[in-house]
């Protein structure tokens, strides 16, 4: 689950991490009222679950409440990389003396959290890491001992945090790491983490993404569902289906993520494009097949459907029977190609031959047929 800036900052503030004074607004009028309350000189920021909003014009620094209203109006009418801006965050402008980068994320290759600190805050950290690796301190946290003072110190020293700031920065890092752990986050990022004229360290921006597998521990978490961008993805989520909307014309149903991905690749190989990714899992249970098929049939982009199932423990003849009974109940307005493989595949195909469904023996043949039918 991704958190919008203001959502992340609410979590930060609850964990004792300093954040600027501010409030979120859904209208330009609200923005003006908040700016007035904050004293006029504020920052207006688009709340979208994606980076690069600054470059896209989604952030404005203004001197007055009237200006804040104007900018909020403009930003609220934007769409940033496909995301319409529904809310803006209005925050008191800060007196910034220096900017740092602070992030904690999961390193897949090392199978451990990695703490990243840099004195080159406010910039794209990947770019800084590439051009000035000495300015980016990466410290891996052994899950067996967790974050310890020595790692925090190492990160500060290597990032050249000024000596007089190390103690405060260490406390800041410890709090951020606690958020990372307690929220089951896979990413917490503060960029910039600013040193104010007052000497205080503060999270000027905030990004957080949490682990969906751990959602049961955080029933009240307030964030944005990342995979549900398309209405069909939203619907799939409700149905508990592993579905991704794509921009082609061949609807795909398969069992097993690897098999489905390979099916998409195969469609492309035969000159077509898949309209979706849909993994119905092992055994191809009737209800899941039905939900999956009706989802795909409701997609106006879909011109043909390829059902690609490998019968493993469940035999293909049983899979065929299940498929037939499901399809007979449905109103099917596009051609369907079924490919069965694995245990008792021939028997399965024989059963399907009596239906109006097209069958295919091989993966290639199935993909080719589905592409041809989509074009017909």
């Amino acid at each position: 689950m991704k958190f919008l800036e203001y959502q992340a900052k609410e979590v930060f503030a609850a964990a004792g991490i300093p954040t600027p004074q501010g409030k979120v607004a859904a209208t330009a009028g609200e923005a003006r009222a908040i700016a007035e309350e904050l004293g006029g000189a504020v920052v207006v920021k688009a709340q979208v679950p994606i980076g690069g909003r600054g470059k896209a014009g989604g952030v404005a620094v203004v001197k007055s409440a009237a200006e804040a209203e104007k900018e909020a109006q403009r930003i609220l009418s934007m769409e940033i990389r496909g995301y319409p801006v529904d809310e803006v965050l209005i925050e008191k402008a800060a007196d910034i003396k220096a900017e740092f980068y602070l992030g904690v994320t999961v390193d897949r290759a090392r199978q451990a959290p990695v703490l990243i600190v840099s004195s080159a805050g406010g910039m794209d950290i990947e770019e800084v890491a590439a051009t000035h690796p000495d300015k980016v301190a990466k410290v891996w946290i052994d899950p067996l001992i967790g974050l310890r003072p020595f790692q925090v110190k190492e990160a500060c020293y290597r990032a050249q945090v000024p000596p007089e700031l190390i103690q405060e920065m260490s406390g800041f890092i410890e709090k951020v790491y606690r958020v990372f752990k307690e929220q089951d986050a896979i990413l917490v990022e503060i960029n910039p983490l600013a040193l104010l004229g007052s000497g205080e360290l503060i999270a000027l921006d905030g990004k957080m993404e949490t682990d969906d597998n751990a959602r049961f521990r955080h029933p009240d978490a307030k964030g944005v569902d990342e995979q549900a961008e398309h209405p069909l993805e939203q619907r799939a989520k409700e149905l508990g289906l592993s579905y991704v909307k794509l921009d082609g014309e061949v609807g795909i149903v398969g069992n097993g993520a690897g098999l489905v991905m390979t099916t998409l690749d195969m469609i492309q190989r035969h000159g077509g494009k898949a309209a979706n990714f849909l993994d119905i899992g092992g055994g191809a249970k009737a209800e899941v097949v039905k939900n999956g098929l009706s989802l795909i049939l409701s997609d106006p982009d879909v011109k043909s459907i390829l059902i690609n199932v490998f019968g493993g423990i469940t035999r293909c003849d049983e899979v065929a029977k299940g498929l037939l009974s499901v399809i007979q109940e449905m109103e099917v307005h596009v051609p369907i190609v079924v490919r069965l493989a694995g245990t008792r595949a021939e028997e399965g195909r024989a059963l399907l031959a009596e239906s109006h469904l097209a069958t295919a023996e091989s993966f290639q043949e199935a993909a080719k047929k589905a592409v041809e039918l989509a074009r017909a």
């Binding site: 290759a109 199978q111 052994d142 752990k181 682990d211 597998n213 991704v244 993520a257 493993g312 091989s362």
Partner: protein, 288 residues
């Protein structure tokens, strides 16, 4: 020979009284695997398919000389079950459960390394050494003993390849489903090392997919290997930033692309097949 599991495997099933646990216990027994004990807290004294059930792993280990465990415990309790198996000193733990939180898996993999336990999975179909032992949920019927070692991040794709291999008369030494999660106990490189040392294995098939950099890491190791490896990468047409079913199958920024993986494998002299048939063609050529 084979790797990881064989006729000396003495298997414990954690979560044996659950629907999945009970069903696959039956399948594994039918395949000939020595399933010697099961664990479900609070169900000691029961039995499943004739296999005695205990409350704790330690008790099962003490009474039955368990050396391998398979986990069918629900996601909220699976990491604890894995820690219990590792703490009890079991050599090989195969975790079938999916949806285990990432933070828990980082702890579990680190603990497994610390204690010298080999963990396979989570979110994997398990391991089979055809004719010897099945420790997983793979459909035993499609496998046959032979010289091909197979390691894969995907279950059904493995079955597709194996089905084709077996249909063409080519058997397998061991097939290892390492799982599709971002944090997994055993990675390509670990299994390749085992196959390289296994006398039965002559050719290795490695089925990768988008996401992470394990294929690239494996490619570096393959450069030092003596045995031929055939590669396959799924998800070539997947868009960046989208999870393709597997939690680990996602292209983030510039990492995890199919191109990068294919490039790395090609640089290691690994032919990367375009189709499943082609995988088997390449294997056939290398066996002759």
């Amino acid at each position: 020979m084979s790797i990881l599991v064989n006729n000396k495997t003495r298997l414990l099933v954690q979560g044996i009284t659950g629907r999945e646990g009970a069903f696959h216990t039956k399948q594994m027994l039918a395949y000939g695997t020595q399933v010697v004990a099961g664990v479900t807290p609070g169900k000691a004294g029961e039995s499943v398919e004739g296999v005695p059930v205990y409350n704790t792993v330690r008790e099962a280990v003490d009474k039955h000389g368990v050396n391998t465990s398979i986990i069918f415990v629900p996601p909220r309790f699976a990491a604890d079950a894995a820690l219990e198996a590792i703490d009890a000193g079991i050599e090989l733990v195969v975790c079938i459960t999916e949806w285990i939180p990432v933070h828990e898996m980082m702890e579990v993999t680190a603990y497994a390394r610390a204690k010298g336990t080999r963990l396979v999975g989570p979110n994997c179909p398990g391991v089979i050494s055809p004719g010897e032992a099945l420790v997983g949920i793979l459909p035993g019927g499609i496998f046959k003993p032979g010289p091909v070692g197979l390691v894969s991040r995907s279950g059904t794709l493995t079955y597709e390849v194996v089905n084709e291999l077996t249909t063409r008369g080519i058997g397998q030494s061991t097939c290892v489903g390492i799982g599709g999660d971002p944090i997994i106990g055993t990675r390509f490189i670990d299994v390749l090392r085992l196959f390289e040392e296994d006398p039965q294995t002559e050719v290795i098939v490695m089925i990768g997919e988008i996401g992470g950099s394990d294929e690239e890491e494996a490619a570096e190791y393959i450069k030092t290997m003596k045995k031929p490896v055939v590669g396959f990468i799924s998800g070539r047409t997947a868009p960046p930033g989208k999870r393709m079913g597997h939690a680990g199958a996602i292209i983030s920024g510039n990492t995890g692309t199919a191109e990068s993986k294919i490039r790395a494998l090609t640089a290691a002299n690994v032919p990367v097949a375009d189709t499943i048939n082609e995988i088997v063609d390449l294997v056939e050529q290398r066996l002759k």
